[in-house]
C-alpha cells in the first residue's frame, strides 16, 4: 500500500537520482533498479535502458504527472524507464508465477466479447484517474498479468482464459442456481415418484475449481513530447492500478 507523499520537490540530478527522487516523492518504498527489472526483463539491455534514461523533456512530463497525481492524492508513480514494445512478453524467472507483459491494445481481454474484467473498486479508481486528466498523459497502456507457472508458453497463442480465473461470485451464484434447479426438477418428478414409483437419480460431481488470486498490474507509458510512439522508443512507465482476481478488492 502506498504512503502519502511527505517530501518536498527538490532539484533532481542524474538519471538514477531523478527516478529515485520521483519514487521517493511519490512515497514509494521501491528503488528504481529493483523496479526496472520486470519491465526490462526481455528488453535488449537493461543497462542500456538505464544509461539512456529520460530526455529533459520526458523528465518534465513525468514530473508533471507525479505532481498532478500528488495534488489529486492519487497513487500514480513512475516504475521504470524502458523502451516500448508491441505484443506481449513472458517473464518466467519468478519462482512461483510467470508474468505476461502485454500491450493493452493487443491483450486478448481487450478484444474479448465478454469484456475486460476489472473489479468494481478498481474501476472506480480508474474513473478517478480519468476525471483527474491523468489518462491523457500516457501514450501507451500495458498490463502485467500474473499467471500460474507454465500456463502461458512462448509460441502458443495468448488467450483470455489463461489470464483470468473464473469469478468466485459467479461460481457461487451458479451453485445456488444449480441447487434451486435441482429442487424444481425434483418437484416436477414428484408425480412420477408418487404415481408410478419411478425415481429420478441425478449425481453431481460438484467440482468447483478453487479461485486463484492473481495479480494484474496496469501501467501507463509516456514518451518525450514530439517523439513517435513506436517499439523501441524510450518511455517512462507509471504505475496506474493493480488488483487481485478472486477476492474482494479495496480501492487502490
Amino acid at each position: 500500500m502506498l504512503k502519502r507523499p511527505t517530501t518536498t520537490t527538490r532539484e533532481l540530478r542524474g538519471d538514477a537520482a531523478w527516478l529515485e527522487g520521483l519514487l521517493r516523492q511519490a512515497g514509494v518504498p521501491v528503488r528504481s533498479r529493483e523496479a526496472l527489472v520486470p519491465v526490462t526483463a526481455n528488453s535488449r539491455s537493461c543497462a542500456a535502458a538505464e544509461l539512456q534514461l529520460a530526455s529533459p523533456e520526458l523528465r518534465t512530463r513525468a514530473e508533471q504527472v507525479v505532481w498532478l497525481a500528488q495534488a489529486q492524492q492519487l497513487p500514480v508513480f513512475p516504475l521504470a524507464v524502458a523502451p516500448l514494445f508491441s505484443g506481449w512478453r513472458l517473464y518466467t524467472k519468478s519462482p512461483r508465477y510467470d508474468y505476461v507483459f502485454c500491450n493493452l491494445a493487443e491483450d486478448p481481454l481487450f478484444s474479448d466479447p465478454d469484456g475486460f474484467p476489472i473489479p468494481q473498486a478498481v474501476l472506480r479508481h480508474l474513473h478517478r484517474l480519468q476525471e483527474a486528466g491523468l489518462s491523457q498523459e500516457f501514450e501507451m497502456l500495458y498490463v502485467v498479468h500474473e499467471v500460474k507457472k507454465g500456463t502461458v508458453r512462448k509460441g502458443e497463442p495468448l488467450t483470455a482464459d489463461k489470464l483470468v480465473p473464473a469469478s468466485p461470485k459467479v461460481q457461487q451464484a451458479s451453485r445456488l442456481f444449480g441447487a434451486l434447479s435441482m429442487g424444481l426438477w425434483l418437484g416436477t418428478a414428484v408425480p412420477l415418484v408418487v404415481g408410478a414409483g419411478v425415481g429420478l437419480g441425478m449425481a453431481s460431481a460438484g467440482l468447483i475449481l478453487p479461485a486463484l488470486a492473481l495479480d494484474p498490474l496496469l501501467m501507463g507509458a509516456m514518451v518525450a513530447p514530439g517523439r513517435p510512439v513506436r517499439a523501441g522508443e524510450q518511455a517512462v512507465w507509471f504505475y496506474l492500478a493493480h488488483w487481485r482476481y478472486g477476492e474482494d478488492n479495496e480501492p487502490a
Binding site: S181, A196, A231
Partner: protein, 166 residues
C-alpha cells in the same frame, strides 16, 4: 519501426466489465438440468402439437383412475395452447442462444448463469404436465397389469379348483 497499436484508458473503461460478473463454468447440476430442460421443451413442443390425440386418448377406457384429472389438465392446456406455444418457442430459442453463447453450456457470465436457471425452471414447468400424464399412464398401466395378472390368477385358481374336484 511501425507505430504501436494503442488503447486509451477511456477505451479500457468502455470495454471493462466488473470482474464480479466475469464468466465462470456452469455448476454441473445447472448444466445437466439445463440440457434436460432443452429436451423437455422440445418434447413439450411435440406434446402441444399432438394435444388433440392426447385429449382423445384421455377419453378412452384405458384410464381406470385419474382419467378425469388428465382430461382436466389437457383441456386447460388446449385452451392456453397459443400462449404456451409462444412461451415454449421463446424458451427454445433462448436455450439455443445460450448453448451457442456458452460454448455448449460450459462457461458464461453471470447473465448466462441466470438464463440457464430460467431455462431449467421453464423446462421443469413444461415437464410437469408431461410428468403428470406419464404418471397417470404408468399408474393405469400398472393397474391394468395387476388386473390382468389377478384375472389370470383367478382363472387358474378356478380351473385348478374345477379340475381337482373332478
Amino acid at each position: 519501426m511501425s507505430q504501436l497499436k494503442r488503447a486509451t484508458l477511456s477505451e479500457l473503461l468502455e470495454q471493462a466489465i466488473p470482474y464480479e460478473q466475469w464468466r465462470a463454468p456452469l455448476d454441473p447440476r445447472l448444466q445437466a438440468l439445463t440440457w434436460l430442460a432443452g429436451a423437455a421443451l422440445f418434447v413439450h413442443l411435440l406434446f402441444l402439437f399432438s394435444l388433440p390425440w392426447w385429449l382423445e386418448m384421455s377419453r378412452s377406457g384405458f384410464f381406470l383412475v385419474g382419467g378425469g384429472i388428465l382430461r382436466g389438465v389437457f383441456s386447460w392446456i388446449s385452451v392456453h395452447t397459443p400462449w404456451l406455444l409462444i412461451l415454449n418457442l421463446m424458451a427454445l430459442a433462448a436455450f439455443l442462444w445460450l448453448v451457442w453463447h456458452t460454448r455448449g453450456l460450459q462457461v458464461g457470465r453471470l447473465t448466462a448463469h441466470r438464463l440457464a436457471f430460467a431455462e431449467a425452471a421453464a423446462g421443469a414447468a413444461s415437464a410437469f404436465p408431461l410428468a403428470v400424464s406419464l404418471a397417470m399412464i404408468l399408474l393405469n398401466l400398472i393397474l391394468w397389469i395387476l388386473v390382468v395378472v389377478a384375472s389370470v390368477a383367478l382363472l387358474c385358481f378356478l380351473l385348478g379348483a374345477f379340475f381337482s374336484k373332478n
